[in-house]
Amino acid sequence: MTTTLVERDDDRIDLRRLLSDNGALGGLIVLVLALAVMAPNFLTAQNLLNVGVQAAVVAVLAFGQTFVIVSGGIDLSVGSVAALSGMVAAWSFTEAGLPGWLALVAGLVTGLAAGLVNGVMVSYGRLPAFIATLAMLSVARGLTLVVSDGTPKSTPDEITALGSTIGDYLPVPLLVMLLVFGLTGIILTRTYAGRTMYAVGGNADAARLSGINVRRSTLVVYGLAGVFAAVAGLLLAGRLASAGPQAAVGYELDAIAAVVIGGASLSGGVGRATGTFVGALVLAVLRNGLNQLQVTPFWQQVVIGVVIALAVLFDTLRRRNK
């Protein structure tokens, strides 16, 4: 059989293909149906919007993480960078007296800078991504404590607005998450930067011998992850109306879990925005559902760990049988 010229339209949403490509989607549907039966309050509009809000911060972190994982790296620093970005924004407003919108920009720039430092360490310094970002995890958390002096700082209205609700029913975090989801999908599927991530993550040598600037691609990847972390940090600060020095501790692991549940491979070259979105929703739905079922937080951690392992296990089995 020679190559067929059948063109598949990437824009069209084909449910069957969506299900077969995203093993986690089936899991999410099962989870939602089970909770709908077991917890009567689960399937209400108000609660589902709540789930969206609860998912937002981790989802945005996870979208940034998707770039990194697709290109064969890992970013352990996103939780700390989120906290630092939120804190810098709040500090710029309360202590440095910048206008609210400029404080917001300062937060974003902080995330970008941290991400680029990660990128430089990995691409030019040739540090393993795990080590470089582990260092950044510590540095960013430390800087957050330095800037805050250990106390929470209140956020300007421009940032608090990120945690509010439009017209009593549409939560802004949900909106931001969907926007970032769309953006991630476009970057990964349509842009040169995104397409090179797959090549670099799949085989950096082959990418380089095909004329792809691997270093630049690495910089872009970690820069994006930093900016996305900043957005997540601002969302979190907005919801709480304050930036805390201990914000988003451990979130990087949730973000990585979401990406992996979504079917990405930690060895690089594989991963999608839709998968990550579903992965983040699985985590949020699970937390919300377990709360509804009045499972204690202690046991929740156990259940979530088991679900992460099962999700990846099923995905691996599904791929093997393909």
């Binding site: 059989m1 020679t2 190559t3 067929t4 010229l5 059948v6 063109e7 598949r8 990437d10 290109s71 064969g72 790296g73 990995v122 691409s123 040739r126 991504a129 599927t189 349509r190 842009t191 040169y192 930067a193 397409r195 090179t196 797959y198 090549a199 670099v200 993550g201 799949g202 085989n203 950096a204 040598d205 082959a206 990418a207 380089r208 011998l209 095909s210 004329g211 792809i212 600037n213 691997v214 270093r215 690495t218 491979s265 060895s267 690089g268 070259g269 594989v270 393909k322």
Partner: protein, 542 residues
């Protein structure tokens, strides 16, 4: 079992069918193996040999068909299950732990223990016996790292036999061996046959088949197209395997050379190569031959800008790209098909289409967005032109056979319309049919006024397909021969001229081709990547 015993059926596979993402890898294949016979599986890459072996080894479960072992129908769910039934597979990639001793490797995973401690004395004693059976005269305490590839293979075979394997599957075991090593392996295979072991043997070397095969099952496009008896002629085997007679093995169509497209002068990197100069003209194929360490690949990588050089000049189509800048060299019009196809040529996690479009993606980008529709049209056309055998552009490139993968690597450069293409070992591990297709591609390129640099360890190939042959020796250009004067003896004499080896040792044909395969094996070692983010290995697919 004594050699006189009536040969019994060890294994039978009936109607085996296997699909991968839509592509039919095996279609209704029958295969059987009797004790005390060598049954050869012959076919081009992608014909389904490896898939059939994986089915027999329990690594793949067939979509249809049944497998009978020792008279009982079985389901081989895993390699472990197959091993329990006495089926052992020696893969091309060896599975020994280099830093453990030979004895420890022989008992890997089943070390005899006393009070929780490994019984070293017992291991060594039993290891001696096992090594004797395969005729390997090494001390069991030797680290495996210190053994040659052939010896390592013997260790694997000894290990398999000790687990009471009645069926031994050898997947291209001679591909990495020198001629003397191959002789030794064939001898051992013959001995095992005497002992009543059934051997399934895969090889591309038809002479070996003539020497050892009792039966030959030929696969083509996933179907069994015939079972040939022992003593079948090479011509007969090729005819059945390819489905047609190959009239000309090296169909070079020479052109009148035009302007100089690539000019390298005085290229030097201390310790690697020195004062290397050559030119290639439009419409010309420059062959590059040389032994291991002669610097062929190093020069190619330096010219392409992957590695730096100390001095010298590279001019591509009248442009002087900055040294060590791959993108500048590419823009000037040079492309490189690297020798390590999987390690450096392909993104195995991506699809056929993505790989074909890798080089041209930048050019297809407007304002940061890749015009994927246009890219897909172009890559589909290229896949069609190269007759890449796949289920479509979206098939993962990892699932393609070696020859088809190589076409994809070449295709990405053809799409970029480079003026000069450097092919480093383009036909290594590629079967007869696909080889000729790649040669035809070279002809098409030179017909269209491009220049080709063909680096190859396959001496008949480099002589048969080149207009001029540049011979490298010990990092220097030892000489250049026009096609009319490039005989194997002449090339070889130049190849050894710069090294300490005296030419007389190579005058004998056997020693000569031996050294050549030695060279081939050494260049196959992976090169450390200069700029590697992820290091991943992939299982070789069919």
């Amino acid at each position: 079992m004594s050699p006189q015993a009536m040969s019994t059926e060890l294994l039978r596979a009936e109607g085996i069918t296997k699909r991968f993402t839509g592509a039919l890898a095996l279609s209704d294949v029958d295969f059987d193996l009797r004790s005390g016979e060598v049954h050869v599986l012959l076919g081009e890459n992608g014909a389904g040999k490896s898939t059939l072996v994986k089915v027999l080894a329990g690594a793949h479960s067939p979509d249809a068909g049944r497998i009978v072992v020792g008279g009982r129908e079985v389901r081989l769910g895993s390699p472990q299950q197959a091993a329990k039934l006495g089926i052992a597979v020696i893969h091309q990639e060896l599975t020994l732990v280099p830093d453990l001793s030979v004895a420890e490797n022989l008992f890997l995973g089943r070390m005899p223990r006393r009070f929780g401690f490994v019984d070293r004395a017992l291991i060594r004693r039993r290891a001696r016996g096992m090594l004797e059976r395969v005729g390997l005269p090494v001390d069991p305490g030797t680290p495996v790292r210190e053994l040659g590839i052939a010896q390592q293979q013997m260790v694997e075979i000894a290990r398999a036999l000790d687990t009471d394997a009645k069926v031994l599957v050898l997947d291209e075991p001679t591909a990495a061996l020198t001629e003397t090593e191959t002789d030794r392996l064939l001898e051992i295979m013959a001995e095992l046959r005497e002992q009543g072991v059934g051997l399934v043997f895969i090889t591309h070397h038809l002479e070996e088949i003539r020497r050892i095969a009792d039966r030959i099952t030929v696969l083509r496009d996933g179907e069994s197209v015939g079972v040939l008896p022992a003593g079948s002629s090479v011509d007969e085997m090729v005819r059945v395997m390819v489905g047609r007679t190959i009239s000309e093995q090296y169909p070079r169509r020479a052109q009148e050379p035009g302007e100089i497209l690539l000019s390298v002068s005085g290229l030097t990197r201390s310790g690697a190569f020195e004062d290397v100069s050559f030119e290639v003209r439009a419409g010309e194929v420059l062959g590059v031959a040389g032994l291991v360490g002669s610097g062929r690949t190093e020069v190619a990588r330096a010219v392409f800008g992957v590695d730096r050089y100390d001095s010298g000049e590279v001019v591509v189509a009248d442009r002087r790209p900055r040294p060590g800048d791959v993108r500048a060299v590419m823009r000037a019009g040079l492309g490189l098909v690297p020798e390590d196809r999987k390690g450096q040529g392909l993104v195995l996690t991506s699809s056929v289409g993505e790989n074909l479009g890798l080089v041209t993606m930048r050019a297809a980008t407007r304002g940061g967005f890749v015009d994927r529709k246009a890219q897909r049209v172009r890559t589909a056309a290229m896949a069609g032109r190269l007759r890449v055998k796949s289920s479509g552009q979206d098939q993962p490139v990892r699932e393609l056979s070696g020859g088809n993968q190589q076409k994809v690597v070449i295709g990405k450069w053809l799409l970029a319309d480079v003026r000069v293409l450097v092919l480093d070992e383009p036909t290594r591990g590629v079967d007869v049919g696909a080889k000729v297709e790649i040669y035809e591609l070279i002809n098409e390129l030179t017909d269209a006024g491009h220049a080709v640099v063909l680096i190859s360890s396959d001496l008949p190939e480099v002589i048969g397909m080149s207009d001029r042959v540049l011979v490298m020796s010990a990092g220097r250009v030892a000489g250049e021969l026009p096609a009319s004067e490039a005989t194997q003896d002449a090339v070889m004499a130049l190849a050894v001229s710069g090294s300490a080896v005296t030419p007389s040792r190579w005058s004998h044909t056997e020693g000569f081709s031996d050294s050549w395969r030695e060279a081939e094996r050494d260049t196959r070692r992976p090169r450390p990547a200069e700029e590697s983010i992820a290091e991943t290995t992939w299982e070789q697919a069919t």
